[in-house]
Symmetry: C2
Subunit: 187 residues, 2 copies
């Protein structure tokens, strides 16, 4: 049942395929936290090894979580309270384990098809019926680095639309995958 | 089959329920254009009566559509080419009619349930099997003003997640609704 989201800023690739650490984007913090809150995600990990970037992310969360910001928009505080800033994925896993009482499986996401990927329907069923915990891993920039992707427990099928264009923003990808896993449209 | 998206900046309501014209947000331009491109939307209308805001939106689209911007990231150009900036919904309808050869039904979206709303599954079926055209209407700020909402042809069921929290970003809402209407997850 438990579900976490991790947004990875390193190691990711840039448009030239080079390994980089991407910067934190303010809209990633807010949009993804609001999607996580809507779909009952237990924790939203922002993953970056950069200490100044960690400071920035925590500063933004604190701004909306305390004092004036919390009063101005309590729904924003509510969503951002899901955020935890960590240095790398092992730290996210260990924090998730402390929170959930079990180690989550890491499920990588990518715009490119990969062999033996899990379908969103299969993952939805396992979330609804099993007692396993999962953490969805999303990459910023042009996606999670291949070596990191290979090290994860599962990969999720890419989002397909109409045709070949597959350049959704990470914010849109998180929203769609959470809706596929947890949304309740009228039949 | 044809499907358009309109993002309305006026009349919308602010957090106090007051009617306002909201500002254009750069991420609304990019994220929503990329989602529209992924899910085969025919036109993405950015609706604002403010001439300086229209100028700004067109300037951003042109930046990525010509010269350096188009070379730097052709996929961005590709998505932003779906954008048309208009003053109000009647102008969007008339432009859509010119493009599609038929007047689209206007389908309002809201985070609040409304009587007799269309389910996303019903709309998906009508899009797949019928010869009608539809234009999804999304509000910025805290949503489309009630009078405008009442004037539209249909309203779409709200996105429900887990629990009562329904404060998705408009970017996330557009992504989820387009995926529900046009996405092709593995069964």
């Amino acid at each position: 049942m438990p579900l976490c989201v991790a947004l990875v800023h390193s190691p990711v690739v840039n448009k030239h395929g080079k390994v980089v650490t991407s910067s934190i984007t303010n809209f990633d913090i807010h949009d993804i936290a609001r999607s996580c809150r809507t779909f009952g995600v237990d924790r939203y990990f922002i993953v970056t090894p950069s200490e100044p970037q960690q400071w920035l992310a925590r500063r933004i969360v604190r701004h909306w979580g305390e004092g004036w910001g919390a009063t101005y928009n309590p729904r924003r505080k509510d969503a951002l309270s899901l955020i935890e800033v960590v240095s790398d994925l092992p730290e996210a896993v260990s924090r998730a384990e402390a929170l959930l009482g079990q180690r989550p499986w890491l499920v990588g996401t990518s715009a490119r098809p990969r062999p033996e990927s899990l379908s969103t329907q299969d993952l939805r069923t396992r979330l609804e019926t099993g007692d396993e915990a999962f953490c969805l891993v999303f990459g910023t920039g042009w996606g999670i680095h291949g070596d990191l992707m290979d090290s994860l427990d599962f990969s999720l099928e890419p989002i397909r639309g109409v045709g070949d264009y597959n350049h959704l923003s990470v914010r849109a990808a998180v929203a769609i995958i959470l809706d596929r896993l947890r949304g309740t449209p009228t039949a």
